[in-house]
């Protein structure tokens, strides 16, 4: 019995070693705050993008962010794709026409710009990385195509397990919105390098991106509030779509697959029960008897 108890004690001890010890090894990363959770129309098993929000977000990207950030993986035709902002094909063509892209070399071998077509991808604001750095105090504005999936924050135990069930996976969007709205006065003790801004959510707090948004900066025609927070949420939703353009199709198909599998599992379960009934054992089966001809023998 005492041995049993000591094993128990050992279990508890190892458990403690594994889960309690880290308490005193806490991360000491300064003043970086955890992004607040936002409500997103695209979260959860039936999540969908809000078309109007994506269109507004695109407007914010176009009028503000595109001055510095590229969107390499998105073509103008994507703006008319199902499950996206769903501009009409004509609208997408008009938008494309407002951009200039380099044409293929002409007969004289010169490269001249032409109006973009829907098949073209969004042009980059800087010809190369160094040009981008030179214009931004040494920091390159990263491509935003998959940005909404490329950032996260730690959820910690037990949340990281609960997230599997609740399907919470919007850390990226929460972070982008927080970043865009997280500019603040620097705390007195903080040494802010020249050309940087203080941001509550950016790792290290000193960011080379000047606050891109301010109230009233972009004109909204659908009556949505023209506030920094609203801009931030809209452009984040747009960036979630650029990062995960098949999100709606994925969740829709997922639901169908889940229903199919559930029904299939139910049918198999009852079939299995029925089949196994045929070979149920009865107490008399244990009585010794002569082996039947051809009976199974151990190897």
């Amino acid at each position: 019995m005492s041995l049993k108890r000591s094993i128990l004690a050992l279990t508890v001890a190892t458990g403690l070693a594994a889960f309690a010890v880290p308490a005193f090894a806490q991360d000491h990363s300064h003043d970086v705050e955890t992004p607040p959770k936002q409500k997103w129309s695209f979260s959860g098993p039936f999540g969908k993008f809000d078309r109007a929000q994506l269109q507004r977000g695109f407007k914010v990207y176009r009028e503000v962010c595109s001055a510095c950030h590229s969107l390499e993986l998105i073509a103008f035709r994507n703006l008319a794709d199902q499950g996206g902002p769903e501009f009409s094909a004509a609208q997408a063509a008009v938008i494309a026409g407002e951009y200039k892209v380099p044409d293929a070399p002409n007969d004289a071998g010169e490269v001249v710009d032409r109006a973009a077509r829907v098949a073209d991808y969004f042009p980059k604001p800087f010809p190369n990385e160094n040009a981008g750095r030179a214009a931004n105090g040494g920091a390159y504005p990263p491509d935003l195509s998959v940005m909404a999936k490329a950032r996260t924050y730690e959820r910690g135990f037990p949340w990281f397990l609960i997230d599997i069930v609740t399907q919470f996976q919007e850390q990226g969007p929460d972070y982008v919105t927080a970043l865009l709205t997280g500019y603040a006065e620097k705390p007195a003790h903080f040494e802010l390098p020249d050309g940087s801004a203080y941001n509550k959510y950016f790792p290290g707090n000193a960011i080379k991106m000047p606050p891109p948004l301010s109230d009233g900066r972009v004109e909204y025609t659908d009556g949505s509030p023209a506030t920094t927070l609203q801009y931030a949420k809209d452009v984040t939703a747009f960036l979630m779509w650029t990062a995960e353009p098949k999100l709606e199709a994925r969740k829709r198909l997922g639901f169908q697959v889940m229903i199919f599998l559930l029904v299939f599992a139910g049918l198999l379960y009852f079939t299995k029960k029925k089949v196994w009934k045929q070979v149920a054992l009865h107490p008399e089966d244990l009585k010794p008897r002569d082996p039947a001809p051809g009976e199974y023998r151990p190897h």
Partner: protein, 420 residues
């Protein structure tokens, strides 16, 4: 339901065929009338699930390979384009990346099942060792595959892991240069990793054939851990095992589908959506979750070479399990002490996994050291000694009896729990 029936071809074609290549007979004896212990529980369905996952990885992988570009400047973008422009490309990619994780969940359950019920004991040692080889091959395949999207974690994970090999005295440096195809991880590395990632699954498939061959020579173990003696202890593989496997495979697919359709990036790293950049090191370089316990062991040891040896040792030691466990009784059902140590061991492995995801500093390192010592002690001290000192419970006379009497042997009367 009598045991080994032989296949009797009926149609003239099958008769003709059977005299030349008795493949129908092989299938018949291996997957139709093959006798399986009647008391198998659902933990025994994971072998079938693993075969299914291997097939799923090969099918999705071969199609991904048709669209993927193994070049350092294009790999990241080609994976993104698969997700955007290939019909159902997002499904292929997410099924493949989550499929790898599901494959590992299944293999871990399968291995712990084997440990709990003593499936590695005589006469199943070779079967077990083939399993350990399969596990090693899977680890290699998963690691190589994770480098292919060429994101930050791909690149830095590959850099860190390949660097282990430099710890070997003398040959280390040349070994790493050979792995890299140069003096740092770069395009040649990606090319050779891609080639090997395509190759290894088929090596795995080959070893699976050996694994199943060995299984069919010695027969399946079962929760009672005793061999079938008569007809009443077994049932035919089809329909009894097939339907049970099918049912649980679908249940497993529900979990698989949950990840693929609802939380496809949960098991990955956000950093891998940043294109590889040799000039920027991520703050925490963390391998895929399935390597975390071993990563914790590696970092628990201050000396690089010793750490690498401990890492490999922690896997190789599994191959010696049949001889380290000295108890003649297989199933933990009849081993009251072992059963508790088994669960402690499971908790230790989970704890190591959690520690592997934490930075190697302060209390985390101390905890990793304690658990690493326990990990090895489990195999090298606890298992040998348990076999000698443990008072096991009486075994049932037959599998049929264990089924009817819920594991209590007839004549053992009132089941007074064996005092320890």
């Amino acid at each position: 339901m009598s045991g080994h029936q032989t296949y009797q071809p009926r149609s003239p074609f099958m008769k003709w065929m059977e005299r030349r290549l008795p493949i129908a007979g092989l299938v018949y004896s291996s997957f139709i009338v093959y006798p399986t212990p009647r008391n198998l529980n659902y933990w025994w369905t994971f072998g079938g699930i693993l075969s299914f996952m291997l097939a799923a990885q090969i099918v999705t992988g071969v199609i991904l390979a048709m669209h993927y570009t193994p070049h350092a400047d294009m790999a990241f973008k080609s994976v993104e384009m698969i997700m955007r422009d290939v019909n159902y490309g997002w499904l292929l990619r997410y099924a493949h990346s989550n499929g790898a994780s599901m494959f590992f969940i299944a293999v871990y359950i399968h291995m712990f099942r084997g440990m709990y019920y003593g499936s590695y004991k005589e006469p199943r040692e070779v079967l077990w060792i083939l399993g350990v080889i399969l596990y090693l091959l899977m680890m290699a395949t998963g690691f190589l595959g994770y480098t292919l999207p060429w994101g930050q974690m791909s690149f830095w994970g590959a850099t860190v892991i390949t660097n282990f090999f430099s710890a070997f005295p003398g040959i280390g440096e040349s070994l790493v240069t050979l792995l890299w195809g140069g003096y740092s991880v770069g395009n040649p590395t990606l090319n050779r990793f891609y080639s090997l990632h395509y190759l290894l699954p088929f090596v795995i498939a080959g070893v699976v054939v050996l694994h199943i061959w060995a299984l069919h020579v010695v027969g399946q173990n079962n929760p009672a851990g005793i061999e079938p003696k008569t007809d009443r202890d077994v049932v035919r593989f089809t329909p009894y095992a097939t339907i049970k496997d099918a049912f649980f495979m679908i249940c497993f697919s529900l979990v698989f589908a949950w990840f693929v359709f609802y939380t496809p990036n949960y098991l990955g790293h956000a950093d891998n959506y940043i294109p590889a950049n040799p000039a920027v090191t991520p703050t925490h370089i963390v391998p895929e979750w399935y390597y975390l316990p071993f990563y914790a062991i590696l970092r628990a040891i201050p000396d690089k070479l010793m750490g690498v040896l401990a890492l490999f040792g922690s896997i190789i030691i599994l191959a010696f399990l049949p001889w380290l466990d000295t108890s003649p009784v297989r199933s933990a059902r009849y081993r009251p002490l072992f059963r508790q140590f088994f669960w402690v061991f499971v908790i230790v492995c989970l704890g190591l996994g959690w520690l592997g995801s934490k930075p190697a500093e302060g209390g985390y390192v101390i905890a990793s050291r304690i658990l690493t010592i326990y990990y090895f002690a489990h195999f090298l001290i606890i298992l040998p000694i348990l076999g000698w000192v443990e008072k096991t419970k009486p075994l049932p006379n037959s599998i049929a009896e264990s089924v009817l009497h819920d594991g209590v042997p007839v004549g053992a009367s009132a089941p007074a729990p064996a005092k320890v």
